[in-house]
Assembly symmetry: C2
DNA sequence: CGAAACTTCTACATGCCGTAGAAGAAGTTC
DNA sequence: GAACTTCTTCTACGGCATGTAGAAGTTTCG
């Protein structure tokens, strides 16, 4: 499974939110002024690069190696990634139907409505 | 989040499968003859006890302290736990509806059918 | 070419997990 | 109740993931 640490998560959040691929420096600055984090985290750029390398190794991030300040982007959207994770969790249980039953009970009415629409056809 | 290691997972699987609370020794034996694992793992009982303590600290397991060989049981069913995990994953994303849309696409037809039934009314 | 920017390598601390011995507590047997 | 057995708790160590970053090597720009 691909479990992320806090900093890794922060970096992914920024990459997912960004419309374009970002450089390590841009990420460093974004983390510093992070509205999500509490204290201003002044990280060294190498720290960010290390995290990005690890995320790349995990297949979550890819980089443009040709453009000189390498630019990093997420491989999948946050939604795809999250949905994939949910599915991975689901299949760990033998009785998936029972899990889904509980799961349905935990979502909001709005979400249930969404599901109904999505499942409508077929 | 409550991410489990391999041994922790094995122990939880056994506790979830057991109809009654188990002692550390029973668990040790069950792990040794584990049909799930590959090689026979002859663990020391203290190892199992340590794992159980950690699981207890995580709130996944509780024990009967009065009965002398303490007996351990899972606090929640595997289905509840799994559904809870799925929900935790879901809420990490801001756009839950988009996540659900992707998620629906990843489940089997049988599971989709189950969901339709569960969502049926209202 | 020389400085500035960037990347890669290497490293260390911390925390979680697998694993278990040593020591202490409790129940069991004559 | 003293010795023996059985359990539990404490402590510990090695490995791996992660946060963090300096040192050294590479590329770019003026």
């Amino acid at each position: 499974m691909a479990t992320l640490g806090d900093l890794e998560r922060t970096v992914m959040d920024l990459l997912w939110a960004a419309p374009e691929a970002l450089t390590a420096n841009e990420l460093r600055d974004a983390i510093a002024e992070a509205p999500s984090g509490e204290v201003g985290r002044e990280l060294a750029v190498t720290t960010v690069l290390t995290v990005l390398s690890r995320l790349e190794k995990k297949g979550l991030v890819e980089r443009e190696r040709d453009s000189r300040p390498h630019r990093y982007r997420s491989v999948t959207s946050r939604e795809d990634h999250t949905a994939e994770l949910m599915h991975e969790v689901l299949v760990t249980a033998p009785d998936r139907e029972a899990v889904l039953a509980r799961f349905i009970g935990s979502v909001s009415e709005a979400e249930a409505e969404t599901l109904r629409k999505l499942l409508g056809g077929s």
